[in-house]
């Protein structure tokens, strides 16, 4: 019987074939379980957003210009800005002869429809449009097609980058009004229809998304800036990191999208071979937050003690294996107005002394909540062990994001380890959540009701003079760093295992989590 089994297994083994991927096709192994939808008005997850961005173009797009992420003209070739009282009037002029991937002409009417669609559907991206002063109620007055080639937007007076970045794809992606309306079900504005295919004017077309199987994209020969070098992109759903890594090593796929820090570290040390490691600083940050409305954390000294207790180096080197940048500021490195501030280094004595001064010489007990990923768990375990060294007994509770955010949004946590993905490349996208409790985001969730910080963040957001604006952000960061509810752990670095046949991946990933440019990739 055993002989038979052996024979069968050997036979089966020969069935496995190994093939190189075709030249004009990019095959990616990725965990696509996080994909919810590929509709530009709803999509909010980083990788899915990269797919959406490649299928839909907007008035502007976000591009790294000399290392700084900047909104640049895309479907709009230029724009004018006029201040009318407390309203800013934006006039965008579309390029002539624009067409969608299916050949239909793209007009101002489609742009207006797409923006109103975001507001009407009112899911995740909608609040960003609301930030601009565009709402479901006023959209007929604020989003206007003046003529087929001209779009007018009336926004709050805000720093220009904020407006130009928020209207870029994914959520500012322009959809084909005619086709979408023809395919709507129960007045859903095509939300169901656009879940797994695209009707846009971007460099690629989403042909199909078969859940738990694959996403297939094809190049768009009618793309206004010319057809991209890759003719086909296949994203295969491979949930396990280990398998992804094995596939890219064997040459079955070109890119392993989600590998573990351990595998990345291993690849970093390997010389030669047919795959390489590609990294880029992510547009996000990782933090520990303390609820300033809860017990000991009401005291700024206790919060400071925690900031001194955490072993930032251990987290960066052991959990992240070096794929993280020490940055204790709320802003990522290189942002407008960024100043380098890294005052905290693990100092148990100082932390203990601060705790004693605050009246907790023997520490206290606290609950740390965090989500269920391996990295978060590992961070929590290190923080827990750091806190134990200054006498604080921390209990970790891992929970699904949906449960964690439910608790967090109701200010129901004591301590949390989480991250923040940046929504648009402007300091405002960070100053608001981290310093201004009035927008009811992170500062509010942690009950850090600091009016000085909130005022500074608000003023800096509407300041049009760059020099003054930079000065305000400097003041805010210096004020914030010791007083806030947050201990920033690091700025993450994204990493991919990439076949050496793939060219240009390094440039494509620049600015990832905010943008990803498949048009820059080609194959040898």
């Amino acid at each position: 019987m055993w002989k038979k089994i052996l024979l069968v297994t050997l036979l089966l083994a020969t069935v496995l074939s190994f093939a190189k991927t075709p030249k004009d096709t990019l095959v990616i192994a990725a965990n696509t379980e996080i994909f919810i939808t590929l509709d530009p008005a709803v999509c909010y997850e980083t990788f899915a957003a990269a797919v959406v961005t490649s299928a839909y173009s907007g008035l502007t797009k976000i591009e790294p210009v000399n290392g700084v992420l900047t909104p640049v003209p895309d479907l709009a070739e230029k724009w004018e800005v006029v201040q009318e009282g407390d309203v800013t009037v934006w006039t965008f002029y579309l390029r002539k002869g624009l067409v969608f991937a299916n050949g239909d002409p793209l007009t101002a009417e489609d742009v207006v429809f797409s923006f109103k669609r975001v507001l009407t559907i009112n899911k995740s991206p909608a609040w960003l449009f609301n930030e601009l002063g565009l709402t479901k109620e006023n959209m007929d007055q604020t989003i206007i097609a003046k003529d087929p080639l001209t779009v007018v937007l009336k926004t709050k007076p805000l720093a220009r980058n904020i407006v130009l970045s928020i209207i870029a794809p994914p959520w500012g992606g322009v959809v084909n009004k005619k086709v979408v309306l023809a395919n709507q079900v129960n007045n859903d504005l095509g939300e169901a229809y656009l879940t797994d295919k695209s009707e846009g004017a971007g460099p690629f077309i989403i042909v199909e998304w078969k859940r738990k199987e694959q996403v297939i994209m094809q190049s768009n020969p009618k793309y206004w800036a010319g057809e991209p070098p890759l003719k086909k992109i296949i994203i295969k759903d491979v949930p396990e990191e280990t398998t992804q890594f094995l596939l890219v090593q064997k040459g079955d796929v070109d890119i392993a999208w989600n590998i573990t820090t351990e595998q990345a570290a291993q690849l970093r040390e390997t010389k030669g071979g047919n795959i390489r490691l590609v990294t880029t600083p992510e547009q996000s940050n990782e933090y520990v937050a303390m609820n300033c409305g809860w017990g000991p954390f009401k005291d700024e000294k206790v919060r400071l003690a925690i900031k001194y207790a955490i072993d930032y180096d251990a987290i960066i080197n052991s959990v992240m294996r070096g794929f993280a940048i020490l940055n204790q500021n709320f802003m990522p490195i290189g942002y407008f107005g960024y100043i380098e501030l890294n005052p905290f280094k693990r100092d148990v004595q100082k932390a203990k002394q601060l705790l004693t001064e605050a009246g907790y010489p023997n520490g206290f007990e606290v609950e740390i909540i965090t989500s269920t990923t391996d990295i978060r768990r590992n961070e929590a375990i290190i923080v827990q062990s750091n806190l134990a060294d200054i006498g604080i007994k921390a209990n970790i509770v891992q929970m699904p994001s949906s449960e964690m955010y439910a608790k967090y949004r109701q200010q129901g946590h004591q301590m949390i380890i989480a991250g923040w993905g940046i929504d648009y490349p402007d300091p405002d996208a960070l100053a608001k959540p981290f310093a201004n409790y009035r927008v009811k985001q992170l500062a509010w969730r942690n009950m850090w009701y600091d009016d000085h910080a909130a005022d500074l963040a608000e003023k800096a957001g509407v300041e049009l003079n760059d020099e003054k604006r930079a000065q305000m952000y400097k003041e805010l960061q210096e004020y914030w760093i010791t007083r806030s509810a947050f201990a920033m752990l690091y700025q993450p670095v994204g990493f991919w295992a990439v076949s050496n046949d793939v060219v240009g991946f390094e440039r494509a990933v620049e600015g990832y989590t905010l943008t990803f440019d498949f048009t820059k990739i080609s194959k040898k």
Binding site: T9, A19, Y44, N122, T372, S402, E403, V439
Partner: protein
């Protein structure tokens, strides 16, 4: 009691229990501390947007109204929309169930063959070496955690030796067969796609072994004791006395009678596999119902949790009912 009225009574009881099951599932889903809206909107959204969305989804209605909506939905076959996949739960289940069914059928097949074979051997050679071996084999089967055996087999046969494919139902570059039943083995034969057949079979080997092993163990034990009972009975002794060969006695007379309880155990095993499927599918990245339920539980996607567990409970109850009916048909004493 007549068999007909027995079946009617059991059906009625089952419906009653299933109503209770849906209440329990609803309670579980409502107590789950998730923020369904937050799950849709993501971590960055401010609380005002969340509150607005809740109103639009009717989640601010009184619980009783929500329960009525939910029950009437079930009766219409509408299990709600998954928060995570943004699609009808019923459609998701229809998509994932065939994978579980295929795996369960293969595992049942494997466990029945091995289980009955071992059971007979150990009954016939009672207290001999083979009996002890079978016994240890069986007890080991119900003792090893499936998630652990699964991981080790993957490590050995996939990562180290490379003899068998890793996770999933098909290789990345094998075109799935045209869908008739959703069972890859059957579909690929029907569409004459032999490459897919071979690949699907190769992918089934490890998970079926892991899932089938514990089931084989219990089948072996039941077969053994039922076989022993039968072997002790008079008609077997008579048969032996009449000089019929031992082999013939075993296969023609004893086995047929001994298999009656075994048939029912196979039914139960099949139901039990639904349970084992949860962990096995998680380990082997098997896109089945078990993994769907685990994922929705880990994400607290409550419409999917309600739909998935309810569906499993219905299948489980149906299988149990069928087993009971078979049992009752075979043995009138069981009709209570």
């Amino acid at each position: 009691m007549k068999l007909g009225s027995f079946i009617i009574r059991r059906l009625f009881l089952m419906l009653l229990v299933l109503f209770g099951v849906s209440v329990l599932v609803f309670v579980i889903a409502k107590v789950i501390p998730a923020d369904p809206v937050g799950a849709i909107l993501g971590g960055n959204a401010p609380i005002d947007l969340v509150e607005d969305m809740k109103r639009r989804l009717g989640l601010d209605k009184p619980l009783m109204n929500q329960f009525i909506d939910y029950m009437s939905g079930i009766l219409r076959g509408d299990l709600g929309t998954s928060l995570k996949s943004n699609r009808p739960v019923a459609k998701d289940i229809a998509n994932f169930f065939p994978a579980t069914l295929e795996l369960s059928i293969c595992a049942t097949f494997l466990s029945v063959v091995i289980g009955i074979f071992l059971g007979i051997l150990s009954a016939v050679y009672r207290n001999k070496f083979i009996d002890h071996f079978a016994r240890v084999f069986s007890i080991l089967g119900v003792s090893m955690p499936v998630f652990w055996t699964g991981l080790l087999l993957l490590l050995l046969f996939y990562f180290r030796l490379g003899w068998l494919p890793g996770t999933g139902r098909l290789g990345l570059f094998v075109t799935p067969p045209t869908r008739y039943t959703g069972l890859y083995l059957l579909d690929s034969l029907l569409s004459l796609n032999f490459e897919a057949f071979k690949d699907a079979l190769a992918h089934l080997v490890l998970p079926s072994i892991v899932l089938g092993y514990s089931a084989a163990a219990s089948i072996a034990r039941i077969t053994r004791s039922s076989m022993l009972d039968v072997l002790r009975q008079d008609f077997i002794r008579t048969a032996k006395a009449k000089g019929i060969g031992k082999r013939l006695v075993i296969y023609r007379h004893a086995l047929r009678n001994a298999l009656i309880p075994v048939v029912t155990i196979i039914g139960l095993t099949f139901g039990g596999l639904l349970e084992g499927a949860v962990l096995t599918e998680t380990i082997f990245g098997w896109p089945g119902l078990g993994r769907y339920i685990v994922n929705s539980l880990l994400l607290l996607d409550y419409p999917a949790i309600m739909g998935g567990t309810l569906f499993v409970a219905v299948i489980y109850s149906l299988v149990n009912l069928i087993v009971d009916i078979i049992y009752a048909a075979l043995d009138p004493r069981m009709r209570i």
